[in-house]
């Protein structure tokens, strides 16, 4: 799997259309870890410390995928999802949460989330989710 992904990424790099992945997480260490992971996969990453920062960003229309933390001060991940869905500006969302809370999972999935992953996140799980979004999106596009 990882091997084929790499091949695929390299093919994207060739056309120099590197998809943009938004990372919204209040924890800086998680943000950094995710950014590096996205980079190692060959995508570009945009990092936001809060939902408001994301909403204020001019680049968000180009975002192809979002990795969203559930537990955040102020607007939570679920609130942001709801807001984006209502404004029909929601990119495909991969949720990352500390709590294996079924309610959170159901709400997120009902609103169209691609994945809901629990921390600590296993590498192959999150890569699988990103591939699903970007490869599928590329196939459609």
């Amino acid at each position: 799997m990882p091997g084929s992904a790499v091949v695929m990424i390299e093919s994207f790099e060739l056309v120099s259309v590197s998809p943009l992945v938004a990372i919204v997480d209040d924890d800086v260490s998680m943000r950094e870890a995710l950014e590096d992971l996205i980079g190692s996969l060959g995508y570009r990453a945009l990092m936001f410390g809060s939902a408001h920062d994301y909403l204020a960003s001019p680049e968000r229309s180009q975002v192809a995928c979002m990795i969203l933390d559930v537990q955040m001060p102020g607007m939570t991940g679920l609130d942001l999802q709801t807001h984006l869905v209502e404004h029909k500006t929601a990119p495909p969302i991969i949720f990352v949460t500390s709590f294996g809370d079924d309610t959170v999972r159901r709400r997120a999935m009902r609103s169209g989330a691609v994945c809901v992953l629990e921390k600590p996140v296993q590498e192959d799980e999150i890569i699988g989710c990103i591939d699903k979004v970007l490869r599928g999106g590329a196939g459609e596009g």
Partner: protein, 652 residues
């Protein structure tokens, strides 16, 4: 005297005329005149002598003038004269007798009157119907009223002098006395001349006619007995007062007796009156056998002590006692035989001697076996009480404390449960917060490590990126460790109140708190506290928690030890400038492979354990400035030992 002279003159003239005149007549008849003159106020013998003299003179004159010429006519004349003298004398004689009798009577009457008037009583007489007809002069002297006043009102006015209190019934009573017709006596107060009243004793007897026995009159006497009466009244009043006092006191005693009786009956304290006379005899006998030391003798001869205890008798018991002993009624309890108290210690023997011989009051706690065989724990007090004939009676009061102890046990258990729940809740909240806080760096570490691997797997490997990722791994690991350290510090600090403590006392209170767990786990705990302990500086609750934790660890370590050997020793001793506390168990000890990891956080050998206990204990002790270590014992089990510095570095 004049009459005597006249009589003698008349006698001489008659004699001279009769003798010398020669006149033939019965001139001697005139001697009667002499007698008449002599008689008044004379003795009868004088009269008789005068008559004889006159007779002799008549005969002498006759003989002198008619000697030799005596004839019938002159003899007749002389005889007439003599008869006249005799008759006159006789007449005068009887008259004199009558006069004398009269004189004597008059004197006697006067004497009686004087007597009646001089005796210090009022003498009185009354008609058969009670109307007074005579009062002696003493009446006037006493009442100041005249006798006529007293006799007025148809002979009943005297009643008006009686005391006003007696006035209304005076007449009726007087009439009743009189009507009974027998001697009577009564006491009344009479008004005196000065207005005061004096007590009189009035007694009366009926005087009956000789023949018919009809009452002719009443005679009586009224005696002033005021002084005696008053004295007597005073005595009577005093007696009455005394009697009243005695009655009052008796009533009071009766009331008090009733009161105590009712207190005895109604109190919720079980009360028994025991007869220990036979017990006392047994104790005496034991003293003789033991050469003065009865206690030693009874201790050596349990059967003798048993006999002694069996000798007590229940004399009385109140309602609460009947209930306490589970008896159907009082009689059932009184019929009970045998000892009351279950234990048979040397102390029990001493108590009996103290109670019976030194008559001391005793208070203690004991277990008694009641009628239905249950064992009841009681708090009791015994006091000797007064008993007749040198008997030995005691009063026992007892309160059932079984319920109290059970309630206390339940309370302790509830407190413990609450404490445990609290600790669990605190730990739960704590672990959740730790989990959340640690999750971030740990999640980041995982991801970074995996990403680093990815950079390295590239061909060619991106070493710079891998290095950056690994640097983040180190940073996040550092952060996780910082969270743990901070948490631990928070656990042992913040709610601290450090004060001078007696470590021995804290250890005792800690053991008391888990007494129930110890019992449930059939484990004995022995506390040894050195005598020369100085105070240490620590937080009481935290120190208590550490000791509880270590003792509970010891208890759990002995789960597989036979119950007879399950023992925890808590030893509190002095060491240099510290107090040392060692908790030793007799369990299987600690696997030497694990002993070094024992104090690591989250390290546990217990199923379901958090692995925080010993970590927190050590941190707590270290925060007090002490150390906590563990070692396996040479024989069996392990010892957890910690030290605590003395207060202010006190070296004493």
């Amino acid at each position: 005297m004049a009459l005597t002279l006249a009589a003698v003159s008349v006698a001489l003239i008659v004699f001279a005329f009769d003798t010398f005149s020669g006149y033939e007549s019965a001139i001697a008849v005139l001697y009667a005149v002499v007698l008449v003159l002599v008689a008044p106020g004379r003795d009868q013998r004088v009269l008789v002598a005068a008559a004889l003299v006159c007779g002799a003179l008549t005969v002498m004159s006759f003989v002198a003038t008619h000697w030799g010429a005596m004839d019938a006519s002159n003899i007749g004349r002389v005889l007439v004269a003599l008869v006249a003298i005799a008759l006159t004398a006789a007449l005068l004689f009887s008259r004199l007798s009558l006069h004398q009798a009269r004189t004597a009577l008059g004197e006697s009457e006067a004497n009686l009157r004087i007597m009646a008037d001089t005796v210090p009583q009022i003498l009185w007489q009354a008609l058969p119907d009670g109307r007074i007809v005579y009062l002696s002069r003493r009446w006037t002297e006493m009442t100041g009223a005249t006798i006529a006043d007293g006799l007025a009102g148809d002979g009943l006015a005297f009643l008006g002098w009686f005391h006003p209190d007696e006035q209304p019934t005076a007449l009726q009573e007087w009439t009743e006395f009189i009507r009974d017709g027998v001697p009577f006596e009564f006491y009344r107060r009479l008004r005196m001349a000065d207005g005061s009243h004096r007590w009189l004793q009035i007694s009366a007897s009926p005087v009956r006619a000789a023949g018919s026995g009809e009452i002719e009159k009443w005679a009586g006497v009224a005696t002033d007995i005021d002084d005696e009466m008053r004295a007597q009244l005073t005595v009577r009043a005093t007696n009455q007062t005394l009697e009243a006092r005695v009655a009052e006191r008796t009533a009071e005693l009766a009331r008090s007796e009733r009161r105590y009786r009712s207190a005895f009956e109604q109190t919720h304290v079980a009360m028994l009156e025991l007869d220990l006379t036979a017990v006392a005899q047994e104790l005496d006998a034991a003293r003789l056998r033991g050469n003065g030391d009865g206690a030693a003798d009874l201790a050596a001869h349990p059967e003798a002590f048993e006999r002694c205890l069996n000798a007590l008798r229940v004399l009385d018991a109140n309602r609460a006692a009947v209930d306490l002993f589970g008896a159907t009624d009082r009689e059932a309890l009184l019929a009970r035989r045998g000892p009351l108290i279950r234990s048979r210690t040397a102390e029990d023997i001493d108590r009996y001697y103290a109670l019976v011989e030194r008559r001391e009051t005793i208070e203690a706690e004991a277990e008694i076996v009641v009628l239905d065989g249950r064992v009841v724990k009681v708090l009791f007090g015994v006091s000797p009480i007064e008993a007749p004939d040198g008997r030995c009676h005691v009063l026992v009061g007892m309160i059932d404390v079984t319920e109290r102890d059970r309630a206390q046990e339940l309370l302790l258990a509830a407190q413990e449960e609450l404490g445990r729940a609290n600790r669990a809740a605190t730990l739960g909240a704590l672990s959740a917060s730790i989990a959340h806080e640690l999750n971030q760096p740990i999640g980041a570490v995982m991801m970074d490590a995996q990403t680093a691997a990815r950079w390295l797997e590239r061909d060619p490997p991106d070493l710079a990126s891998a290095k950056r990722a690994l640097a983040r791994v180190a940073g996040n690991a550092e952060r996780a460790s910082g969270i743990l350290r901070r948490t631990r510090e928070q656990l042992v600090k913040g709610r601290r109140s450090v004060e001078p403590l007696d470590a021995g006392e804290v250890a005792a209170s800690a053991i008391a708190l888990i007494e129930r767990e110890l019992r449930l786990n059939r484990t004995r705990a022995e506390l040894r506290v050195a005598e020369d302990l100085a105070p240490v500086e620590a937080d009481r609750i935290e120190l208590q928690q550490v000791i509880i934790n270590l003792v509970m660890n010891a208890v759990q370590a002995m789960r597989d030890t036979p119950p007879a050997e399950r023992e925890v020793i808590v030893d509190v001793s002095r060491a240099e400038a510290e107090v040392a506390v060692a908790i030793t168990d007799r369990g299987s000890g600690i696997d030497p492979a694990h002993i070094d990891r024992l104090f690591e956080a989250f390290y546990t050998t217990k199923p379901g354990g958090m692995g925080m206990g010993l970590q927190i204990c050590r941190a707590t002790i270290e925060s007090f400035g002490g150390t906590l270590d563990v070692r396996n014992n040479e024989a069996k089990g392990a010892t957890f030992a910690f030290t605590l510095p003395l207060l202010n570095g006190d070296e004493r």
